[in-house]
């Protein structure tokens, strides 16, 4: 169910799901369409900018990988159409994080995997 999304991150795009029967957008991936109970979906690329719906700043590592990266920010970006996607905050200043802040995606690769992160809109190239 997550293959299209994860492949999209490799290419630097955000891919959600669209019900093949009724066309409703679906995110996160679920077995059935919430609108028509359809079970077939096709990938749909969405615009990768929005606003910070909420965030947190983590000061303690709860995992060996992240223990060496504190403090780090986690952003829930609201992309409209009921779609929210979580990623790390990749802006320069954690203190700039605020609900409502316009952000856009920045794609990263690490350890053989692709990730989406969020930076303030208007900063730097996407990848």
């Amino acid at each position: 169910m997550f293959t299209d999304y994860l492949d999209g991150l490799e290419r630097g795009v955000l891919v959600v799901r669209e019900c093949a029967a009724c066309g409703a957008r679906q995110w996160p991936p679920r077995t059935l369409c919430a609108d028509c109970r359809g079970r077939e979906f096709r990938p749909a690329v969405i615009a990768d900018h929005g606003v910070v719906h909420t965030f947190t700043v983590v000061h303690r590592g709860f995992d060996p990988w992240f223990a060496g990266r504190v403090p780090y920010g986690i952003v829930v970006a609201d992309l409209g159409d009921g779609i929210r996607i979580l990623g790390n905050y990749l802006g320069a200043d954690l203190g700039a994080l605020a609900c409502g802040l316009p952000v856009r995606a920045r794609y990263e690769r690490s350890g053989g995997h692709a990730f989406v992160g969020w930076v303030p809109a208007g900063t730097g190239p996407a990848r």
Partner: protein, 391 residues
């Protein structure tokens, strides 16, 4: 309030192990010990228990058969709502005895959260071994970004709450301080002799913004249990009876994912409180106390709001003005709660409510304790609720 006993259940016994941080005992030892203590408190033979409910399935019902000497186990159940499982499990036990499927059901919760090797506060990644709802969402969309433990999920709600409602963050501190004040009257409380000052609270570091160290509950070793019987059953041990007047569980919209929940602030309690209070014709003003699941101070504020103590966004104003500490109109967590007594999966909220209603709460005993409220809270803000009355 009173009503016909038929169709209701009562709590006839409570049991609590020592509440510690550091034990050689296993979860199984603790749960069985608490179950035996609940039987002893009720004055019944453990072998006469015929039902077992274990929140989150921490122990197989078969283990109780051996340990308690059960000869006719007729009913067992486990549920899975994280911390919200406890009150919900008691409602399962109540349903079993009201329907006649069983007559004496033990519900036991707790474990070796501190010593068991999978601490939610640790840096060893062991939190990932817990069984969260919608594991595939956690695996693909959250864990890769360093979101792995409940305090992080709820911090996302807290940030949104502060933004959306303009709530006063000082309410978080007020909850932390009140818990320590209550703990001073409770012999079982880990922080009994360690009051917290506002300066100490403010001086503690952020762990996960906006939660500072003392916004976060204890991790403990211990277990607690209750014995549930039909309200028509005779009392056994000379205790004042405690009747389960109502309760239930609630699940927010998109119950397994906070991130995509349309109203991120919605709780399971939002639904169940409205439903149960409506059924019983009650409002929060009718209660003499409330034992509110307090894994984090923020979670207390939000539950007070959804219970109707105040409007959404006013939880801080309520605790700062009306207060929830000793001597307040409706004291909250008279035992110190998960923040200052111990984290016994919220079953310690139930045992404390029973003590209060029996008049057995020692130095913490309230002058008036006829009607009490208990909440449990867990996973992605699932909720459950008990309304308990002195018989």
């Amino acid at each position: 309030m009173s009503g016909p006993a038929a169709g209701r259940a009562q709590i006839t016994g409570i049991g609590e192990t020592d509440y510690v941080r550091g034990t050689a005992l296993r979860t199984e030892d603790l749960l069985l010990q608490a179950a035996l203590l609940a039987c002893a408190d009720a004055g019944v033979e453990p072998a006469s228990v015929d039902g077992v409910v274990v929140p989150n399935g921490k122990l197989a019902a078969e283990s109780f058969v051996h340990a308690l000497g059960l000869t006719d186990l007729r009913f067992h159940a486990a549920n899975a709502m994280g911390g919200a499982s406890t009150a919900a499990a008691i409602m399962i036990a109540a349903a079993a005895v009201i329907s006649g499927q069983a007559s004496r059901v033990v519900v036991a919760a707790g474990g070796t959260q501190y010593s068991g090797g999978r601490r939610l506060s640790s840096a060893d990644g062991s939190a990932a071994a817990f069984s969260w709802p919608a594991q595939d969402l956690r695996t693909h969309l959250e864990r890769p970004y360093g979101l792995t433990v409940p305090m992080q999920w709820y911090s996302l709600q807290a940030t949104r709450w502060l933004h959306e409602t303009g709530a006063d963050p000082a309410g978080l501190r007020a909850v932390a301080l009140a818990a320590r004040e209550h703990a001073r009257s409770n012999a079982r409380a880990y922080f009994r002799d360690r009051p917290l000052t506002a300066e100490q609270y403010d001086g503690a570091p952020y762990v996960v913004f906006p939660f500072r160290l003392y916004d976060i509950c204890l991790e403990s070793d211990g277990a607690a249990a209750v014995l549930v019987e039909p309200a028509t059953a005779a009392g056994h041990a000379g205790h004042r009876g405690v009747v389960l007047l109502g309760g239930g569980e609630g699940h927010a919209d998109v119950p397994d994912d906070l991130v995509s929940r349309p109203d991120m602030l919605e709780l399971g309690l939002t639904k169940v409180a409205r439903r149960v209070f409506g059924q019983l014709g009650l409002t929060v003003a009718d209660f003499d106390f409330a034992q509110v699941y307090d894994c984090f101070t923020f979670v207390v504020l939000r539950q007070l709001e959804e219970l109707g103590f105040c409007q959404r966004g006013e939880g801080s104003d309520y605790v700062l003005q009306a207060g929830i500490g000793p001597g307040s109109k409706i004291p909250v967590n008279t035992h110190g709660g998960l923040l200052a007594q111990a984290h016994i999966a919220g079953m310690n909220h139930v045992t404390e409510a029973v003590r209060q209603l029996r008049g057995d709460a020692g130095p913490a005993q309230l002058a008036r304790a006829d009607l009490g409220l208990v909440t449990s809270y867990g996973d992605m803000s699932a909720g459950s609720l008990l309304v308990l009355g002195a018989a």
